[in-house]
Symmetry: D4
Subunit: 250 residues, 8 copies
């Protein structure tokens, strides 16, 4: 029952075509999701540039192609994460404008161009070069959502001067995403340098007592720098989306 149906029902009641009991009965089973405020919320999300997102991992090539195709028909931007080159080929066959970012493993259908505010930069940093794919997932996500993104890669804490030389970029950023595997210490050092929101993404980069990203995850959760919050291991998308939400606050 949408807002139109509800109007009709109320008018039927006013006009005596349905009884008070019937009106109450209908209202009791009123489906929440059709209330206007929910629709408004959807509109607002669209205006803010949040695209439709498909998590491709665990889906078949055909499923990904079909979902992206269907979502693309609404003139919305569409983002498919954790996609393979093979998935991209299938998508491109049905949505020719789709682009592929192999490092980030992301398919992007950009149907609505968003103009980022150049003054509000999301800075994405990695500790090592192996963390770059996760960082790119975050970067592409933030860019598709209409943010200005800067990348500073391979500035891990074991070469602290490399990191410190970036202090002007760090100072100038609005939101910072730190992507690091192994001991994940970069989040603490950056978090201690500025009073900015720092979103830490532990990665599964490493071996042995890294235990699939556990070492970086625990380190980031235990960061002695306040202002650091953590997303799931290798979750570049989540970090990019949260950074975008924060970056667009006014």
């Amino acid at each position: 029952m949408d807002i139109g149906n509800m109007s009709s029902m109320l008018e039927s009641f006013r006009d005596g075509r349905i009884s008070l009991e019937e009106a109450l009965e209908k209202l009791k089973s009123f489906p929440y999701e059709d209330l206007d405020f929910v629709k408004i919320d959807h509109h607002r999300m669209m205006r803010q540039g949040f695209p439709e997102v498909v998590f491709s991992q665990g889906k078949t090539v055909e499923q990904v192609a079909e979902i992206v195709s269907r979502l693309s028909q609404c003139n919305r931007n569409v983002l498919a994460s954790r996609a393979t080159a093979e998935m991209y080929e299938a998508v491109k066959a049905v949505v020719p404008s789709a682009k592929f970012h192999p490092l980030a493993k992301m398919i992007v259908v950009q149907q609505e161009e968003l103009t980022p505010d150049p003054e509000r930069v999301i800075l994405i940093m990695t500790a090592g070069t192996s963390d770059i794919p996760v960082a790119e997932e975050a970067a592409i996500t933030a860019e598709v959502m209409g943010n200005q993104v800067k990348r500073v890669f391979d500035v891990g804490v074991a070469g602290i001067h490399r990191l410190l030389s970036q202090h002007q970029l760090i100072e100038a950023a609005n939101v910072i995403i730190v992507v690091a595997g192994m001991e994940g210490a970069l989040a603490s050092v950056v978090g201690g340098m500025v009073a900015k929101p720092v979103i830490a993404v532990p990665t599964s980069v490493g071996y042995g007592a890294n235990f699939g990203g556990l070492s970086a995850l625990l380190a980031m959760l235990n960061s002695c720098a306040a202002g650091v919050a953590v997303v799931n291991i290798d979750n570049g998308f989540g970090a990019g989306r949260l950074a975008s939400i924060i970056n667009k606050m006014r």
Copy 2:
């Protein structure tokens, strides 16, 4: 060597009292922490209302009293977290204006009043009543930093209608802190309701397979709602501080 010393040194060099080599040598050992930009950063933090913070756990009563006392002499606000009533008594003896929040276990010395922007609300929600102490730690932290805070407690997902009836408060908030133990599901539900930054605080509330907060922590990290980031188990302070940083962005 502070900025005054550096000026003197440069003038000595200009006046020929020290050689180029001597000047270079002195600059090489220039202590970083005295550079002005660091001080400026401190000033900015102070203007933004970030207080000096003392983590009292593991410190003696005397140590806490002395540290709070010393920090209070700079006319700054001081926050001592994880403090006991006994620590508070010792602090009050030397800093009579100190206040104690027993639920949050926090000692507050408020020497500088900050006027929160009533339009920018940090909403703090808990799943259960046992999560309230952690929520209060977050709330006091955010309030001392000059934020408008609203509390909605005991709206866990097992009674979803209680939660949904709060949708207007949720819609109106600027930043949301979700505090939950046990299965930690509240973060996902709230994160799915709005496109706001959601800071999830897992708590150690529960027993058995809760494993000291691990269940809520893993659940929140695996949240299917994008826009959720997680801090350490029971880390109300960290959540409050990060929420404050985000809330004051412009």
Copy 3:
């Protein structure tokens, strides 16, 4: 020694052909499994539609084909879980009536048709689309055992209105199976909506701090909703069978 042998023995004793000592000796080594009450139990299980079940994983194609073939000779229904398409080909060669459910990875030999009670519905819900294979394993299991099954997929808690719009189906169900990976919160929300038995199946769907299904498992075990019980990660079969047992209680 079955019940017939036992009669003969008793008669031999009565007739003096064996002594009291011999009778006692024989009774001491009386094999338990041949006692009638056990057989009766088997009959009752058959009447309730419980099929013979083969766990195919870790068995060779030949072993699965042989076991299914042998079990099928007793006119019983046979269910082979975690089967591959290759296993199915081998089974079909010897049991032509066998059917394959590729999503559920189940081979079904339905030799005895059971008429489900349409008033007693087992509702199977999933949080995401990737959880569907596990849900189908539960669904096929319950259907082969003669239950009315309804499926509601992809109603995860991050879109709570999608879930709430299903409340009439939830209210009408007799037993509910909730299948969810990642943060596994769906079980708690559904468990809080009704006073029905809720069987929660954590899945290994997710990545990173999901740790192979651990996050959903712990969340479900810590559910703040009473009335929720949990089976092993990805154990759709177990959930379907338990739901069937409960659904057939009178």
Copy 4:
């Protein structure tokens, strides 16, 4: 806004005192929890004997006393779990009819007597004597909810004949709760003996590689007997409530 308010609003609209727009606006913010169907649900739960439940652990003596007192005013049965003797004293002072079960650590206010169906027995079994407190929590819960409960304690699998001698009780039960620590094997053996719902409660009884109940929990989740579902470690209450829900199905 309760059902009375909604009637008034609808009448105001019919009588032209409020406009269609105003009526729609009011309905949009209609608080879900006041909808009749929710109340009806509550009524049904009450009729089924589900009491109000208080989880006392982590609450103060005063809080427990006040909550029990307030809940007792509605003529409902009230159950406070994980309560101490001291809490009971405080409760008894304000609710003189309250009873205490020290082994189960439960306070019961039984204001409405329920007549259990003697044909539908919930059988509660423990592996050892140390598991009895958890079993009693389950038993009291089920009894307060109006179920016939039978207890068979200390029948762990290391003395399998003790267990087998109980087969008539096991056969006759409607629902079975198995409470076991250490290796938790009792659930599998009982689950294999009957086609009944078996609710397994791992306990933290044991030491060393028991790891606070982890050994029994994992064993029960991996039970090779279908028909077994598991609740949290030491969660007697949850098992008792789920057993009651199942036992009252028709």
Copy 5:
């Protein structure tokens, strides 16, 4: 320096060809492994039928072939565990008498026949059919070491009557090896039936919360039956060897 060298040295000293200091010096660096008692120990092990053992996993095909070949030259029995068919082909090319047990993944070179004592039986039991490869590794090991072995497979506790019907074999055994995955309960039940040494081998058979054998391992370590000891997950060889040592005690 073997016992012969030591004799020579002592004689040289006695005859004055080397000084006391030289004799002491030589004795200080006397290599322990050449002491006679060690050799005697080796001889005793050989007489008891302990073969030379090669752990093939992680070695190349060539390495396994060379090691087995070299060990076979001493007329000893040789056992290569965790071997592939390919490794066997390479071994057979150089040691034509080598036999392969594909289920147990073992290569056996039996150059010395041992006559087992038929009164002293090592009974090897498995809970399921998937546990058989590990059980066979134990069985082949024990047989090569000259023990009488009996196998009883697929008698898991979920069908307790199947197990109980084996009580005469269990009673008659001298040492019992219990091989079980999943919940590993078989060890406790068997351990409770007899006062015999029970060696429990957890297997990695299972899925989900089995965590690679952890569930069975913890269950067996927490066995409420005294008389049970545990070896590593999937360690059939270790169980077979320990059983053999115990079985040959007099």
Copy 6:
């Protein structure tokens, strides 16, 4: 129904006082635990010196006293493990002959003296002095069961010459119990020195990454020495009982 009742029943049947059907019916419900072979088993255990055992931990002082008192009335030896001095006082009040071993935390009621075979020694070794209480639990257990026990304490592998100097005792032992915390390496070294059954008891002695005995447990399970089997952390009793079972084999 005991063996006497069964005789009566059979005679009634022979004499025609009960029918064949009645006799069969009675036999079907024949309680297994009263079968003679079980009693015989009990007798054999008694002859071998296996005492009645009470695990006191988690029981009240009164419960322990009552159980020990009751068990002592059958002229059997009784062993109460993990007992406190207070429990002992209560036991002694009712069983004056009870003895207490404070280090082992064991109460012993020795009513039947067993003469150990001096040729068959159980050697109990510890790595450190802190492991002695667990070792004593094993030693007292084995002694009460009538075994010759020798103790060699504090011979950890970090001082390998201390250990090697004990090689004659090790060579002479029949069964060896190795008790070690921390890195638990002693089991591997001893297991490599002899072809004897080695029962390894990991202890919770240590701190930090010892994780309550996990380090020693995992080390012992992964022992590269065949012939080593492991019991639960701190389970001296289990080791003592298994060693006794093995030591009495013939």
Copy 7:
């Protein structure tokens, strides 16, 4: 048999008082620990200042007093770690010269003064003030062993400029011990600043996802800075001793 006895034996043999067989027999049972080279090793350790060490945790007050007293009689330095004030009182009563370091929980009996080389400094750094007790345990250990120790406390990475301002001390040190809890990042940053041996000591300082020091431990093991090695959580003594060994190498 010490070196004197061995000489006598050899002379007896040379002089024909014992036969070759007797000499060989005696040599076979020659106790290794009495060989001179072991004693020499002990002498060298003493010369290097390695004291006798007592790990007091888990020992009684009386045991600690007696052990320290006995060790002190050999004119050696004695170190008792993890000691309580009560233990110290008992020690002082029998060894009046004993000193107590309450922060490090160490009792020191310094009977031999060692002159440290002032050019070879062991630098001990902590991330926070709560790490100081562990750092002091390392410092006292190194000092008692005759090393020059410098302490730099509370220089955690969240305030990186504090750390960098210590670069001259870091550059000048010979060996560095880094003590840190929480995210343990200090080890990586320091390890990246210099090519010195860095011994990392994770501490149990922290809460929640610190899991008793696991977060710092894993972070340090995964350090991206080569040159870092790790000791057990809170093992200040081990770090101090290893640093001393390295520092005295020439």
Copy 8:
């Protein structure tokens, strides 16, 4: 801004071309990494023979080839760890002098020959043959850095006499690297034999309760021998580099 630019700037200031304020401003943003002392540090590292190191795992063949090629242009030694044969082929195409160590999976470009001090030996020991690849990674690393390396492989503690026969090599070594999987006991035994720095490398060699190297890791961290420090699982490179740093101390 390098040292040349800084000179220019200072001269400009002296000559009045820039003001004091401008000079101060430039100095504030002075990039730390260009300071001479950092360069000096690099020079020192080069003089000590520390090569440039590439961690190849997770990089593409092309990336490895390019990085090695670029680093080789500076006449430095280059070490690429965890490299495949395919990577080596690509490297050799552009750097013909590159060598490959297949066991250690290392590519070495040795452009500067270093003369090791034959008196200062790094001894590398393994417990088993499967540990050799990790040991070789350590060995090649140490050799490229100009150290004298000795290898003693397959001396695990289960054959303690094999190990003890190496005592002269152990005594003669300057630094010892112990590489062991499974129970990792070798580190404790070696650590107890000498007062030398022992660097323990746990390996992932093993199966079952080895949990990817966890058993050896925990054992080594809990070593009862002081003087042992641990690096990450399978981290031969880290051990080799730390050993080299220690070995070159004077």
